[in-house]
Amino acid sequence: MSTLAPPTSDTSPALDQTGVTRSKITKKILVLGATSGIAEATCRIWAAQGAQMFLVARNPEKLAAVAADLKLRGAAYVGTAVADLDDTDKHAELLANAVNSLTGMDIAYLAYGVLGDQPRAEQDFEHAAQILHSNFVAPVSLLTWLANFCVQRHAGVLAVISSVAGDRGRKSNYLYGSSKAGLTAFLAGLRNRVDREGVTVLTIKPGPVKTAMTASMKGSEKFADVNKVAATIVKAIDKRADNLYVPFQWQPIMFVIRNIPDRVFKKLNL
């Protein structure tokens, strides 16, 4: 990881190129993995609130489409950077530029991750390592920089999408699950460290969400609406919550799943 230090002032003369007068109350939000379905739905709510956002994603066409949409929906400012977030060497520079562009940061929203291919990962360690890198190592790099930035300023929310899959490993996706379990544990520790510095760490664990992909599946009516999920996330951030199962039913469900004894659990097909 590079040694570039976080900027210490949000009034860095650097980069207020928009000329937009920025009200103190509008949120300044850094979104990592901005083209994911949940991230985009969340950003639409923030845009309607007049937030200032900086979006990072890998695909330039998708990123441009999302950014244009958010501007029209009322975002006071939308900056973008195309980046492969797996590349941890570039994180410090990327984040410093993002924060300069926003002239500060109230919320960092990390929605970056990969599902991977579980059967392949069972045979191919390289692939397994790749999943762990994208879902755990790379977020740790991002969050280390972001946490230190927030600690210096004694303010900020780090909202991170983990997964219910991280609550217990299951044979259908334990590589993904273990990467998210690592992330969840990292966030718990980070929260324990930075809460006393005035920094909030929110661990978000979504259950099944109705998206274009699942819209026509039988039973999808029971899946969560992505816009409601996004609204719940926005509220949890505003309330400075620590943990969020969304929809909330997943909290008791995962409580049960975590507490099934292994002599039973190991026989289940989950």
């Binding site: 994911s36 991230a39 489409a65 996706n173 274009a212 992909m213 039988k218």
Partner: protein, 461 residues
């Protein structure tokens, strides 16, 4: 790197057992008839098509929210390309009201954006849960057809992408033949990736509403004549009654209120029809009672009020999944447009046939179409009288009745609406739409629908 980035919600889905094997789906049209298995592939980005079809030889069909009633939005054993995730705004000019958006955006989403900014849809159907692309592909119409024409008349341009990867900007002046084939083209000419829509200014959510009872087609035609300057006109007609109550109805008028009011977005609907109603719930008695209650709900022959645009345009949207009222077997719609020459006699004859059958259901809609020509080669609206109503599916009775009604429509020089149809024969379709063979040349070779297969089948009756 070799991994593909996925939506963060996708992994969590795997915790729930997949309800259906890959390769099939529960995608239903609004009538829930017919039911076919097909593979649903989401198109979330403009660049997804045609690359999602790489390596497959299945036929495909772009679909939106599945609000067409029959099989224009179905493809048996094929791939449905669902566009609803492709719903981004691209440009908006608050001076002119010109909105550019991806084709999977719904009219509800457009309203949520436009109404607080003082704009409204130029043409809207009876539900806002349809996509922009679907509205163009079916060249939908609304209560203002007489003064505004159909939806395509307000779409200055759009992009059409073919399965061979070619992209065309289509407008009246650029690729005008593709423009005309795609408006009302039932999604068969390619994928509409984005479109422009000319919104119209409003100053209030309110609609100045008038409801007037009428008895019979002559009174309907008088009212239509008297109020032809009013922007929105439609009528509800009782298709179940005979004798002195034959063709009684309520003529409804509306105009956007000129008194400035608060332009807040609509709240989310709260009611959901929770389960499939049992088959006996809808029968001649309950339907007749409903129609009588509806007719007399308006206690005076003539009422005037101001109402919100939601109940005026979208009364049924207040109850999500209201189609479940018809039970598992579903419903079929019947909708014709008969030109003025035979409009009155045709409407009377068809209404009599429907009343006689005892199969009529509630909320039949009777309306006049104006003479603004549609821009689409295959558009449904034509000047004259339009009637639309639902029938519950009673296999032995409903389909023979629909055949008779289709043939009567044909005799009176009218046509049926593909977006509402599950029953017209190839012969009927080819007579209703004499341009169909010219249109067929614009069809994308990879795209088809169960409707298209049915009505172009040369062996079909």
């Amino acid at each position: 790197m070799s991994l593909t980035t996925v939506e963060p919600e996708a992994p969590a889905v795997s915790l729930a057992k997949p309800e259906q094997p890959v390769g099939s789906s529960g995608f239903e049209s609004w009538g829930r008839y017919p039911k076919y298995n097909s593979r649903v592939v989401p198109l979330n980005w403009q660049g997804d098509f045609p690359s999602v079809l790489a390596g497959t030889h299945d036929s495909a069909l772009p679909v939106g929210m599945g609000r067409s009633y029959g099989d224009v939005c179905l493809l048996k054993d094929g791939t449905l390309l669902q566009t609803t995730g492709m719903n981004r705004l691209i440009d908006f000019n608050p001076e002119t009201g010109l909105l550019t958006a991806e084709s999977g955006i719904s009219l509800a989403q457009i309203l949520d954006f436009a109404v607080p900014r003082g704009f409204f849809l130029p043409v809207t159907p009876g539900t806002k849960y349809v996509t922009l692309g679907g509205a163009i592909a079916n060249d939908i119409h609304g209560k203002n057809h007489e003064i505004a024409g159909s939806f395509g008349n307000h779409v200055p341009c759009f992009e059409l992408v073919r399965s061979d990867g070619t992209r065309r900007l289509c407008s009246r002046t650029e690729n005008p033949d593709w423009y005309a084939a795609t408006i009302g083209g039932m999604g068969l000419t390619g994928l509409i990736t984005w479109a422009q829509l000319r919104l119209k200014p409003i100053v209030s959510r309110g609609i100045d509403y008038e409801g007037i009872q009428y008895h019979g087609i002559d009174e309907f035609l008088d009212l239509k004549q008297r109020y032809q300057h009013v922007e929105y006109t439609v009528s509800w007609v009782d298709c179940a009654s005979t004798g002195k109550n034959f063709a009684r109805g309520i003529f409804m008028l509306g105009e956007h209120s000129k008194v400035p009011g608060e332009l807040k977005p609509s709240p989310e609907p709260k009611l959901v029809f929770p389960f499939d109603a049992p088959g006996f719930a809808l029968n001649h008695t309950t339907v007749s009672m409903f129609n009588t209650v509806f007719f007399h709900k308006q206690r005076k022959p003539h009422v005037k009020t101001v109402q919100d645009y939601e109940p005026f345009f979208y009364p049924l949207d207040a109850v999500l999944h209201w189609n479940r009222m018809y039970g598992k077997r579903g419903l079929v719609q019947f909708q014709y447009a008969i030109p003025w020459e035979h409009a009155k006699e045709g409407t009377i004859a068809i209404l009599r046939e429907i009343a006689k059958s005892g199969l009529a259901s509630f909320l039949a809609v009777l309306k006049a179409f104006g003479d603004i020509p549609s821009l689409g080669m295959m558009s449904f609206p034509q000047a004259g009288i339009m009637l639309a109503l639902d029938f519950p599916i009673k296999p032995d009775l409903t389909f023979p009745l629909l055949q008779r009604l289709g043939d009567m429509t044909l005799e009176f020089g009218g046509r049926l609406y593909p977006a509402k149809d599950a029953a017209m024969t190839a012969h009927q379709f080819q007579t209703f739409y004499p341009e169909w063979q010219r249109f067929a040349r614009f069809r994308d070779p990879m795209l088809t629908s169960s409707f298209w297969e049915r009505v172009t089948d040369s062996t079909g009756a």
